[in-house]
């Protein structure tokens, strides 16, 4: 009996922890998905998918009372909304090509920038993958899950993001040389 009761206590604590977390971040999730999908139904579906993702990874993301950062939640929710758009449009899972359509390389005329400015001119998916890796300290596998990509696609995306950043930084150096 005692082991069972101990397990129950833990379970209730975690349920309360998640309920509080969801209450705090529900608005952020809705506003994040609203940037990608418009209808109430799509927004609700995307938020539910975000919630489901968090619950499935409760042990990793909420260990020892921790909660994911607001930035992570915002990125996660937006990507779940994008997943929904993809699913609604052509039954296709995400792949790197979807993102490549959005990629932009700096033009030869583009002047060099400082690191922050260069970063802010990157395509959003480059900014996201770099932030998840270098700021949120997620593993490549975790980023793959978050962005609905394969591990190899994330590795390529990281490589291309770093290269794009370098290109922007070195543009001025090339012109000055």
């Amino acid at each position: 009996m005692l082991p069972g009761l101990l397990l129950l206590l833990k379970t209730d604590e975690e349920r309360i922890q998640f309920a509080r977390f969801f209450n705090d971040y529900e608005s952020l999730m809705f506003k994040s998905v609203r940037q990608v999908v418009q209808s109430q139904e799509d927004c609700e579906d995307a938020v539910q998918n975000t919630c489901r993702y968090l619950i499935d990874r409760f042990d990793e993301l909420f260990a020892d009372g921790a909660t994911p950062s607001a930035n992570y939640i915002a990125m996660l929710a937006k990507n779940r909304a994008r997943d929904l758009l993809r699913a609604n449009s052509r039954n296709a899972s995400a792949n790197l090509d979807d993102y490549e359509d959005l990629a932009s390389e700096p033009s030869e005329q583009e002047s060099a920038m400082d690191l922050k400015t260069a970063f802010y001119t990157l395509p959003e998916h480059y900014q996201q993958v770099l932030t998840l890796f270098y700021y949120e300290d997620l593993s490549v596998r975790e980023i793959a899950d978050t962005l609905s990509l394969s591990v190899s696609a994330v590795k390529k995306l990281l490589q291309r993001s770093r290269d794009a950043l370098r290109s922007r930084l070195l543009a001025e150096g090339g012109e000055n040389a």
Binding site: K10, K31, L165
Partner: protein, 230 residues
């Protein structure tokens, strides 16, 4: 991949990039938070779906937590179980693969068979009119289907139980547990005494698969869906 090494040869360090990413993250959150308020209130169906998911945490998520956190406790169960098996013929006949322990407010199942059930061996033959599939999700251990109508949600989950895996069902605050047989398989119904919500868990003992149907739809609908699963 090492974060510092990954930037060897680049004209910026991991620390510098981290600082910039921190600014970006803060700006991103600020931009989202400053967006205009939503022009709708989340629907009741949405609220119910979220609540169902939270309750599912108590079943699906717990299965893995329990294994990691209380391995020692699980070992005690195994030893006790083994002792019962060795000394009591009737117990051995009764608990060939599953052990069920009913506590006042939760039920603990433990599976002693081999893993390897086929999550795709089942198909859902009946979903009432008005329900549509809003999410289908699968990983190595489970397959989940969520159907939603205007006023109810049905979550069907197929769970592949591994050897010595255990699953805890923590009911609603006030629930009634009853035994049933669905298509020849033993099943437990957990009925919330204060609402229409219920959970029907069907145990395919030979395959090591649990089929859970969680819904706030009428109980008769839940049973019709359950009986259509083959």
């Amino acid at each position: 991949m090492n974060r510092t090494d990954s930037l060897a040869g680049y004209p910026f360090t991991a620390e510098e990039l981290r600082e910039v990413c921190a600014c970006y993250a803060a700006d991103l959150v600020r931009a989202v938070e400053s967006a205009p308020p939503l022009d709708f209130e989340p629907s009741q169906a949405h609220r119910a779906a979220i609540q169902s998911m939270m309750d599912r945490t108590l079943q699906r998520g717990r299965r893995q937590v329990v294994l990691r956190r209380v391995a020692a406790i699980a070992a005690v169960f195994v030893i006790l179980f083994s002792a019962i098996m060795a000394t009591n013929v009737h117990a051995r006949e009764a608990f060939v693969r599953w052990l069920r322990q009913v506590f006042p407010d939760h039920v603990l199942y433990q599976f002693f068979g081999e893993p390897g059930g086929d999550l795709h061996a089942y198909s859902v033959g009946y979903i009432p009119d008005g329900f549509s599939l809003i999410l289908e999700k699968e990983d190595e251990e489970s397959r989940t289907l969520i159907y939603k109508s205007e006023d109810a949600t049905v979550i069907i989950q197929f769970l592949d139980m591994g050897g010595y895996d255990q699953m805890e069902y923590v009911g609603y605050d006030d629930f009634t547990l009853s035994d049933h047989t669905i298509n020849g398989l033993p099943a437990n119904l957990y009925k919330d005494n204060n609402s229409s919500r219920c959970n029907l868990s069907i145990f395919d003992e030979s395959a090591g698969i649990v089929i859970c149907i969680d819904s706030d739809a009428e109980q008769s609908i839940v049973f019709e869906i359950a009986e259509s699963i083959r």
